[in-house]
Amino acid sequence: MHTALLLEMAAGALGDRIATGSIDGGVSYDELAARARAGGHWLRGHAAANVVFVGLNGAALPTALFAAAETGRPFAPLNYRLPDAELRRLLARTAPSLAVVDDDMLARVEGVEGVTVVSRSAFETAAVDPANRDNEHPEPDRDIAVLLFTSGTTGDPKVAVLRHRHLASYVISTVEFMHAEEDEATLVSVPPYHIAGIAAILTSVYGGRRTVYLPTFTPEDWVSMAAAENVTHAMVVPTMLGRILEVLEKRGEALPALRALSYGGGRMPEPVIEKALRLLPNVDFVNAYGLTETSSTIAVLTADDHRAAIGSDDPAVRRRLGSVGRPLPSLELEIRDPDGAVLGPGQSGEVYVRGEQISGEYLHKKVLQDDGWFATNDAGWLDDDGYLFVEGRLDDVIVRGGENISPGEIEDVLRTHPQVADVAVFGVPDNEWGEKVACALVARDGHPSVDELAGWVKSRLRSTKTPEVWSFRDALPYNDTGKLLRRQLKAELAAAQPVAAA
């Protein structure tokens, strides 16, 4: 089973339906399949092991992904937001390769050894050139579908390997073929080099849902495009959702066509999801949890779960709004302690998964265990009904006197303080407790006192979760993909140990 077959099936079943672009003038499934075959024919004229994509979202992206699949070559979308030197370093790691690069980014990537650079417009022209159509080629061997550079908050980025069987298995086990109504449209604003961007292409094609691309995310453009294209579905990361809600409020826009919003890729602060449910009462909210190495989603908090949680007086049900829902029925999920023993409900440990969509593999390094289990490096626990609560990266969880403390929970509480602009919580070594809770904070509208902030946390959580070390800063460090560099802060504060709270 391979990903090119997903498009072949879609074209065979509903070839006239619009696959990408506007309902008038968009590209049909038949046309997308023809462009992928033509693009594949053209790619075959270039000696290259990998097909690289450096550019913004748009119709060329699915064309290039499926064209690469036509030839059996791995597709490697790179983060164009990286500084030039870093981008070129990643590009060099894809050699020998052919890189399809946005015309205005060509100058940034010229002259990398072993990399043939072609412009996006040249690729798009080749994909519609009649001379490249109707060419027969023998079925290639297909193995690796996609190579994704992980954002790497420590060290060199790793290259996650997603094989055709992983991605195809994810799609056919989670999406009903051609189930979308003809008026449905999904707005994709996650970048091409993110697993959610790749998964969105494949699941939309197989589900028969038209895809509209936002070249690059701004909340204003997102809202405008959602309204103009009658978008019914979208996936956003939590930060995007918060900013989208602000624009909706400011404009008084209700997005009447919107039916479902899924979110993932980070912890959703409860005030944001509560506001979203209030502002968009007719929208189905879905929380999806997954990793690059798991071919996207492995657990889902459904719209019904959201409604049950928000409307419940039972604290155990209410708090599920902060969970990532239940594991997909097509895979197994366990919580294990550091010795590998499986833990029961309510016990925190490392999240393990096993299933056909799980790759658990990097270039030159397979981390999947022999029996197929993948250690996610995420800490979490399951409640009595199997809802998964993710506490963050295993290394980020604070262990204070034997108690597991999730930094995200404390950050969420501090973020609701009117004078807190940004915040990071992490553990620093402590002789008595093993670790203690530390906090780096960017203030706004004056300078709140440590006592005030400590009291804010203590009254909402409990004293063991109240930071004991406080550091006020002008800004927090983030990497190029917007991930907080918690470990950098941790190292700095462990060395410095500034102002202790009273």
Binding site: M9, E139, H233
Partner: protein, 102 residues
């Protein structure tokens, strides 16, 4: 016939095409419309017709799983015949209802 994962087969008597999602050990015949399916790249035999006992039809996107052998195939193109293994009909799995998450 060797039903390897990822191998593609077409009906000898209708438009049905399938891909093997989960393989099974042992030599079994995958049939459609009552006749053995042929490898996707091969020519269809002439002169055969859909058997009345195996004329339920297939729809693209349906997954067919056999509890006895563990074989699972995905229908990639629909047709008039229905699927069987050594003459024994195999049914479609229930469609999953998961919300869109990408």
């Amino acid at each position: 016939m060797e039903l390897k994962p990822g191998s593609r087969w077409k009906s000898a008597v209708c438009d049905t095409e399938v891909v093997v999602v989960r393989a099974t050990a042992g030599d079994i015949a995958l049939e459609c419309g009552g006749h053995p399916m042929v490898a996707h790249a091969d020519a269809k035999p002439a002169g055969l017709a859909v058997s009345a006992d195996h004329a339920g039809g297939t729809q693209p996107g349906k997954r067919f799983a056999d509890d006895v052998t563990g074989l699972e195939v995905l229908c990639t193109k629909g047709g008039k015949g229905s699927l069987s293994l050594d003459g024994r009909a195999i049914g479609a799995k229930e469609a999953k209802k998961l919300p869109a998450s990408d």
